[in-house]
């Protein structure tokens, strides 16, 4: 970025300008309301997309910003989902209580495992996150008294928002609820990545070896962001339970962990909106492709993934940003 006049340069204003809302961001969030008008028959899908976007956002915090690759993030999603489900089964049907409980349980589990996570990087880290994911999946599978095992949790009840608004069949409430939760968490995450802590995370991603040499307790930072990320994943899981009134072992599945990495890479990791855009593309593609060929739809996801990674190494948003920069460079 060129600075025309050195004397006029104010580093604070420069950083402030970088954290300001871009017009495209307003447009994006305005567009999230369109399904209510344009696709009222697809609101269930829309709420699934919002939940997936929230889950991807949680992964972006650790993968995109701190450079911590996890292939077991469904563990926290599943913990949130089961927590909300088990609570509602026992009469605690208020969605907000389920949401907070799912967030807290996943966050605690995240904090507990963060002590292991913070000690490793790269391949060992991927193996450990995967291993922890398998551990939790099989624990849930065997704890039938609590989770219902492979039959899924029975007796999950749909609550009413603020004890008044029911979740309807068409998904109006579900999408509105998912979207509001996504937006509120997004605002918090956006603040986080623009904060000194967010800068510390990028420092860890860029050069974890250098961090201690500037006095940074990298492991403490990693523990903190992992806990926050797990909490957000727990919220996403809880919302899924509450909007669908079902919980099965699928919420803890390895495939869910892998898919969310795919979604983030498709959209562009470390770009805040990458997970959101990735979730839209992935979920819509799944919806369309599985309509064409229900058994083989992953073929197209594979093709999409290979094409994006080969042509746009920084994901779809990274590619768009590059195009934008070139266009601006060419027009000036």
């Amino acid at each position: 970025m060129a600075i025309t006049s050195r004397a006029a340069f104010d580093p604070k204003h420069y950083l402030q300008a970088r954290t300001q809302w871009h017009p495209i961001e307003y447009a994006f969030w305005a567009a999230t309301l369109l399904p209510f008008i344009l696709f009222p028959n697809h609101l269930v899908l829309a709420s699934q997309i919002a939940i997936t976007a929230l889950f991807a956002l949680s992964l972006d915090l650790i993968l995109g910003y701190a450079g911590i690759v996890s292939l077991g993030h469904a563990a926290f999603f599943g913990l949130g989902a089961y927590t909300a489900g088990i609570l509602s089964k026992h009469g605690w049907t208020d969605p907000l209580i389920g949401l907070l409980a799912g967030c807290a349980v996943a966050g605690l589990a995240g904090y507990a495992t963060s002590f292991i996570i913070a000690r490793f990087r790269h391949l060992p880290l991927i193996m450990i996150t995967m291993g922890l994911g398998f551990l939790l999946l099989e624990a849930a599978n065997s704890a039938e008294w609590l989770t219902g095992g492979s039959d899924g949790l029975q007796g999950v009840r749909k609550g009413r928002l603020f004890a008044t608004i029911p979740f309807d069949l068409y998904g109006y409430t579900a999408y509105a609820y998912s979207l509001v939760v996504l937006f509120v968490v997004f605002l918090a995450v956006r603040r986080l990545i623009n904060s000194p802590f967010g800068l510390s995370l990028r420092g860890i991603r860029e050069n974890s070896v250098r961090m201690p040499a500037i006095g940074a307790p990298s492991r403490a930072h990693i523990r903190k962001v992992y806990t926050i990320s797990a909490s957000v994943a727990g919220i996403a899981g809880a919302v899924l339970t509450q909007t669908t009134a079902t919980v099965s072992l699928g919420v803890l599945d390895f495939q869910r962990s892998a898919e969310i990495v795919i979604i983030l890479v498709l959209g562009g990791a470390g770009r805040l909106y990458g997970g959101l855009v990735g979730a839209i593309i992935f979920m819509v593609a799944r919806d369309q492709f599985s309509g064409i060929a229900p058994q083989y739809w992953y073929f197209w996801i594979g093709a999409l993934l290979v094409a994006v990674v080969m042509l746009l190494p920084n994901g779809i948003l990274g590619g768009l940003a590059q195009l934008g920069a070139r266009w601006r460079g060419g027009s000036s």
């Binding site: 204003h13 986080l192 904060s195 802590f197 800068l199 250098r210 040499a213 940074a216």
Partner: protein, 250 residues
Amino acid sequence: MSGAALSTRRLDKRFGSLVVASDINLVIPQGVRYALIGPNGAGKTTLINLITGMLRPDAGKIILGDADITAFRPDARVKRGLVRTFQINALFPHLNALEAVTLAVCERRGVSGRWWRPLPAYGEAVEEAYAILGSLKLDADCCRLTRELAYGQQRLLEIALALATRPKVLLLDEPAAGVPREESAELFAAIAGLSKDITVLFIEHDMDIVFRFASRIIVMVGGRILLEGTPQEIAADARVREVYLGGEAP
């Protein structure tokens, strides 16, 4: 020893049968510019790694001021004012220079874990980072990504990151490595201009630079300290000439 900014007592380190540091006793008074010289493989970088905690000594003690820091983690040593730079650039490629130095300043100010207020709200930290960049003439390029900076500027950014931690003792591992000779004098002029409150120990191979900028010199050979003294004493020592300064063996 009181009054010393940094001292080591009988530091030992070996990798298997290879002795990389043996019986290292240093007493570095405050404010002095020290050069650490010695042939390749003498253990100079290893010594810096030991002092800064990147390596654990097998035996011996490291004392910063009055405190025994031998068991401290590297980041805890930095917090106490013992800071290093790296021979090979160890920077943050996709942060711009302002962000990188702000990162280090925030860490020192203890606000690096704050996640609720945006970075510009910590205006003093940002201003301080900008001032540090200015003192090293990097301010004009502070918005460029680190990886896009010229190599010499990246070497300066290494030092800027170290300064952001407000070091008491600064260990510079070949600060001018890879920089053309004309520029390296400029770089050392910046180092010489640092506050006299900062004790500096630097590794350097260029003897002109060493004799120009160091007030005392330590010579290491084979993991041991051969000699320590003023530039005149070092230049006059026959053993130094023999093992290092390229003098012919008698």
